[in-house]
Amino acid sequence: MTLLITVFAAVTATAAWYKKNDREMMLGILCWMFWGASLMWLVDAIFEYAELRAEYFTPALQDMINDTFLGLSVVALALVIWIVVLLIKDPKGVVKARLKKK
């Protein structure tokens, strides 16, 4: 479930990066984070599948809920990292302009 959520996030972030084509929004950070994590969790999933076989596809409900929470938390963490980097680097100068106004 964590892998699935991260893959969806990676595809969405990449599509947004392609559509916006705006370097100033720094969407590339999100793409790297989600794709990197997706690839690593894919390896994890392959090893787990090799161990559990068919059982891998029928997880217990409790495990699925926990994995879903983890996946959503991972997406939230990545979004927080992205917004913090965006505000600190401030490529559009919005924060700087707002501070100067005051």
Partner: protein
Amino acid sequence: MACFLVPGTEAILVTGAALLLGKYEQNKAKLSLGANSAANEDGKKTGFSRKLFWLAGLLWGGVILLAFEHLWHGEIQPFFPFLTAAAEGPEAVSEMLHEMATVGVSMAILVTAVWGVMVGVTSAIEKRPEKANAEASA
């Protein structure tokens, strides 16, 4: 258990290499004053240091999110000895090292392989307009 440490180590090495190579490429561009350097400054071709930063981005991104997952599962802790397995005894450490050698190394290899494909595809894309121009002029 601590599989992300392998791609993490690779991330440190790749970032260092990319920084060094970036400085070397900058110096080289400054020294060579000609049509070739002008073409590079136009951004027609992506420097290899930039491509190395792509790999570093993939590795760091994955490592950060995986570290969070390990924290979630209680496999790492924010205080000494940081790795839960290290506090559990030699059997747990042995299991951890085995996981690093199998899962961790596979993670590093897969990410690097995907990056290699990415570099190949982007090189092909960069060559595309030149090819089109050559065909048009022929």
